[in-house]
């Protein structure tokens, strides 16, 4: 589903140039659940953003479903992303002025979905995330765990093929974090490909595979099980 060849990303700010990603090669198959780990500032978010086509690589290629998208125009990338990819962020990123229902409805608004279908779909996802009873509330009225569940509901309401999660449990206590991880695992088992950045070894165990980044480079790629044995 995803293939990355010799991909680099450099940032220019005033006088310094930072290399966030350096000649990375990577492949992710449809249906996989991949965790990305590494120290702060090693380029995890940058990689995720490029995978999600929110950002473009400085050099190298990115094939999404065999199609080269890394060097596409913005509008092209936006079109491919629409309906195919969605995100879950550490800071939830809900829109404060919209209530839960409207937030979750958001991706469907920009696809050709009838009003009735939209409503049915939103209610269904909200129920699955066990947040249906809060559908008329505003984000500020919800706890962190609830907000993240709404964010996940929004991310999957349009049935994306790829779900990108950047430290989804980073702002949550361990119990709610666990709930969120269970939801993600469930989604993955239903066919959604998931790439998740995390700091937590425990969360990484939910993934099929862990990719370790260091200073913009892939250090090791192992399955969670392998890591588990190594660490013990």
């Amino acid at each position: 589903m995803i293939k990355i060849e010799n991909l680099s990303k450099r940032f220019r700010t005033e006088d310094v140039e930072t290399t966030a990603l350096n000649e990375i090669n990577l492949e992710i198959k449809e249906g996989e659940f991949v965790a990305i780990m590494g120290p702060s500032g090693c380029g995890k978010s940058t990689l995720l953003n490029i995978l999600g086509m929110l950002d473009s690589p400085s050099s190298g290629n990115y094939y999404f479903n065999k199609q080269e998208v890394g060097n596409q125009k913005e509008s092209q990338r936006n079109a491919i992303r629409k309906g195919n990819i969605n995100f879950v962020f550490q800071s939830f990123n809900l829109i404060d002025e919209l209530n839960v229902f409207r937030n979750v409805e958001l991706p469907l608004n920009y696809l050709n979905v009838s009003k009735a279908d939209k409503k049915a779909r939103v209610l269904e996802v909200l129920d699955r995330m066990k947040i249906g009873h809060r559908k008329n509330h505003y984000p500020q009225q919800l706890s962190g765990g609830q907000q993240q569940r709404v964010a996940i509901a929004r991310a999957v309401s349009a049935n994306p093929k790829l779900l990108l999660a950047d430290e989804p449990t980073g702002n949550l206590d361990s119990k709610t974090g666990l709930e969120v991880m269970n939801l993600l695992t469930e989604l993955n088992s239903e066919g959604t490909t998931i790439v998740m950045v995390t700091h937590s070894e425990r969360d990484a165990e939910f993934a099929h595979r862990v990719i370790r980044l260091f200073d913009g480079e892939v250090m090791t790629e192992k399955t969670a099980k392998e890591f588990a044995t190594i660490n013990y």
Partner: protein, 810 residues
């Protein structure tokens, strides 16, 4: 959702609504006003072919020409020029008494005219037959208003009106109402209430006749002018100046003609340009505020927009959201502005007679919707939202520097020009004679029989304690009427042909206007009496009984107590005479060479006064010699107790009517007279003051919002600084320094602009204030203080906050 937005940002929304609302009100008002000013006399179907003919005045330099021409020049125009189809004469006599239904009336809006009037002009006739008007002698056409006032009904056809005309005696008599016209529209450059008939080619030797020509569609203006000039020249006696014709299109009269004796105070293109510029400035400032706040709003919302894009929204989707969001505040603004504009007369306590048409309201609203709704999309169009969706960098306040500079600049320029205008109007008011101009009553155009009774009237006036001084003069304040004559004066070379202006005053004139002499004494002692003047006036070369009259006069003079003629010079006269020291003129003998030489006897110069500035200030003070000839003093003047105005007016009226039951009491206040003369300048001053205030209020609001935004983003910086030991004051000083720099730059740009505008405006006046440097400094300092106060308000709150609080806030 929109409501949520508005509640969350009510400060910014209300600033925008107020700004757009004011700009909308100003746009509506100015547009309506300008449209009216440009529409003057458009309603005549033949407007494009009608011209007013005047003559260039060659008598005196620096004086505007009059609006009428010498009656003797008109008759030849009827027949000798194929380009001229019709000629309409309008004669406005002073001193008339009208009697209708046994009541006396007076009207300023009365004219004698010929039947062609109704052929070339389209004033609407309500009663009567247009084709037959004035086909019989002694007919009169009156306005609806007049019909109602005189006869209590519009059905006035066939009624009689009697008119007594002092200086056009042959036209006095009974006239039959032949038509009733609708009241003249507001956008007519003159308004007539009574039109008395004269014959088309009746030879009326009236010195001052308003004359309109209907020209052929195919015409050659310059050759027509040349032909007229040549014809006039051929018929001018040797030694008299040749009249030079001027043709002004009817529709230009209102805005471009500023002759003497206009039929009513005209508008001015300069005023219109000032008004339009002012409106544009208010609009620009409101627009800048709007775009700035919009941008700020956009930055605040950027994160949400990015989230929407991540969830599949396109730029068009975002544009739609922003566009729809902008409509509500714009609607509020238009509602507010519309209310302000429709109630402008009440709010400003003025009588602009705002007649805003529904159609104008509609399309101007639409334009506002369009401009501001589209402007709300500007930040979206200029920011790459979809680029770097993952990051939302904060864009600093550098972006606003240019617009802040611009607003400061406009505000400073507005303050400077407002001060200049106020100072100039003030100067003009102070230069004109009279301390309390609102307490000086003028009775203009007094008829002869009342002039003859002046002494009696004066005495009866003065019996009332609320009437303090009574005097009389040649003509009313504000006029500049040249009566210049050659003279002889002791010590002045006779061979040099010079002329001085004669201005006649009654002996108490100086006391009333509180005028002090530069040299000599203003005590006129015994002056000539009216009977004496009447005899003297008849002694001239054409009079066959000249010698007998002289004998009579001399006898009468002795009987009369042997008065001595006294003359008073003004400073401009001294200059013409080449006398440096006013004292040197005192006691010198002087005599006017008047056409009736006995009227101004040889006498002595008793005093020199500063320039009187009795007339308007658009032209320089004429060299004047003041003398007392009571026969000429057809303007009575009374100074009253300002606290007992109503009482005083009543007393004046009662005494007047006791002596002259036939001729109604008419009065004007001197301050009103001058205000009328400077009508356009007052209008400009008031408008500019209003615009300045609006600009400053809007700029302050904009600055307030912007600084609150940047403070919000600086809170963390302030917190860090404080944590590192800076005091609140130091932080404040830093910000003040920043704003001061901008104000100084804006000041440097504004000064030359304001200087240029102010100088241009002042050039209207012959006497101007100096554009002293302090006006500029004061304006700059004012702007600076306003800026600092606005910014400090916000900063102080932030700076005095506990640093921990500030750091937490981020």
């Amino acid at each position: 959702m929109i409501l949520n937005q508005i509640l969350k940002n009510k400060k910014w929304y209300s600033i925008n609504t107020l700004g757009i609302g004011l700009a909308f009100a100003v746009a509506l008002i100015i547009f309506t006003h300008v449209k009216k000013e440009l529409s003057y006399d458009n309603f005549h179907s033949k407007a494009d072919d009608i011209y007013r003919i005047t003559t260039e005045d060659q008598q005196l330099e620096g004086q505007p020409p009059t609006s009428g021409i010498d009656g003797r020049l008109i008759l030849p125009l009827y027949t000798n020029f194929p380009d001229i189809k019709e000629v309409v004469r309008l004669i406005h006599p002073d001193n008339t008494i009208i009697t209708a239904d046994k009541n006396n009336f007076s009207s300023k809006q009365l004219f004698f005219t010929n039947s062609q009037f109704f052929k070339i002009f389209d004033y609407k006739l309500l009663r009567g037959n247009r084709a037959n008007l004035f086909n019989q002698p002694n007919q009169v056409v009156i306005s609806k208003k007049t019909a109602l006032a005189y006869f209590g009904t519009e059905e006035a056809i066939g009624k009689e009106i009697n008119i007594q005309v002092q200086y056009l005696y042959s036209k006095s008599g009974n006239y039959t109402v032949a038509g009733v016209m609708d009241d003249f529209p507001d956008n007519s450059h003159f308004k007539a209430d009574l039109l008395f008939s004269i014959n088309n080619n009746e030879d009326i030797n009236q010195f001052h006749t308003y004359t309109y020509l209907l020209l052929q569609k195919e015409r050659n203006l310059s050759s027509l002018k040349n032909l007229i000039n040549a014809y006039w020249k051929k018929n001018t006696k040797d030694g008299e100046p040749n009249p030079i014709s001027q043709l002004m299109p009817l529709r230009d009269i209102h805005l471009y003609s500023h002759n003497a004796d206009e039929m009513s105070t005209n508008g001015s293109m300069t005023s219109l340009i000032i008004l339009i510029a002012g409106a544009l400035i208010v609009f620009l400032i409101a627009f800048i505020n709007y775009t700035n706040l919009n941008y700020v709003q956009f930055i605040t919302d950027l994160k949400d927009f990015k989230i929407r894009m991540i969830n599949g929204a396109s730029l068009v989707d975002l544009g739609q959201i922003i566009f729809i969001r902008s409509l509500l505040p714009i609607s509020f603004a238009i509602l507010l502005g519309g209310l302000l504009a429709y109630n402008f007369d009440t709010i400003s306590a003025s009588s602009f007679n705002m007649n805003i048409s529904a159609f104008d309201l509609l399309w101007i609203s639409l334009i506002f919707y369009l401009i501001f709704a589209l402007a709300s999309l500007l930040p979206l169009a200029t920011t790459k939202v979809s680029k770097d969706l993952a990051h939302s960098p904060y864009q600093g306040s550098k972006k606003f520097v240019a617009s802040l500079l611009f607003q400061f600049m406009l505000s400073i320029a507005a303050i400077i020009t407002t001060i200049v205008l106020h100072k100039q109007i003030n100067l003009v008011n102070n230069l004109h004679p009279g301390d309390e101009k609102s307490a000086i009553v003028i009775m203009p155009d007094v008829p002869y029989h009342m002039i003859a009774k002046f002494e009696v009237l004066k005495e009866s006036f003065l019996e009332h304690s609320e009437i303090r001084n009574v005097s009389a003069a040649f003509y009313k304040p504000g006029l500049n009427i040249p009566f210049s004559y050659p003279f002889e004066m002791e010590g002045i070379d006779k061979t040099v042909e010079k002329k001085l202006n004669m201005f006649s005053i009654e002996e108490d004139f100086f006391k009333l206007f509180n005028i002090k002499p530069l040299a000599g004494s203003l005590d006129m002692g015994i002056t000539s009496s009216i009977p004496w003047e009447n005899i003297a006036l008849r002694i001239h070369d054409q009079n066959p009984n000249k010698d007998e009259f002289i004998k009579n006069l001399n006898a009468y003079t002795k009987e009369h107590g042997g008065f001595q003629e006294k003359y008073i010079l003004n400073q401009s006269a001294l200059k013409v005479l080449g006398i440096q020291n006013p004292e040197d003129a005192i006691g010198k003998s002087f005599q006017f060479n008047f056409m009736a030489p006995e009227l101004f006897q040889k006498g002595k110069v008793i005093a020199v006064i500063g320039d009187l500035h009795y007339g308007d200030m658009f032209s320089k003070e004429e060299p004047m010699v003041l003398a007392s000839k009571n026969l000429f003093n057809s303007t009575f003047i009374a100074k009253i107790d300002p606290r007992r105005k109503a009482e005083a007016l009543q007393s004046l009226k009662t005494e007047w009517e006791t002596l002259s039951p036939d001729h109604p009491f008419r009065y004007e206040f001197v301050d009103d007279l001058y205000e009328q003369i400077y009508f356009n300048q007052y209008k400009e001053m008031k408008a500019l003051t209003l615009f300045s205030i609006l600009s400053i209020i809007l700029s302050v609001l904009g600055m307030f919002a912007l600084s609150s935004f940047s403070i919000q983003h600086k809170t963390k910086e302030i917190g860090i600084r404080k944590a590192n030991g800076s005091t609140s004051l130091e932080i404040l000083m830093l910000l003040i320094k920043e704003y001061t720099q901008w104000v100084i730059v804006a000041f440097l740009i504004a000064c030359p602009i304001a200087y240029y505008i102010a100088r241009d405006w002042l050039s209207n006046f012959a006497y101007r204030i100096e554009l002293s440097w302090w006006i500029f400094i004061v304006s700059g300092v004012m702007a600076l203080i306003i800026a600092i106060l606005t910014v400090s308000w916000q900063t102080w709150k932030a700076a005095t906050q506990n640093p921990v609080e500030a750091l937490k806030y981020e």
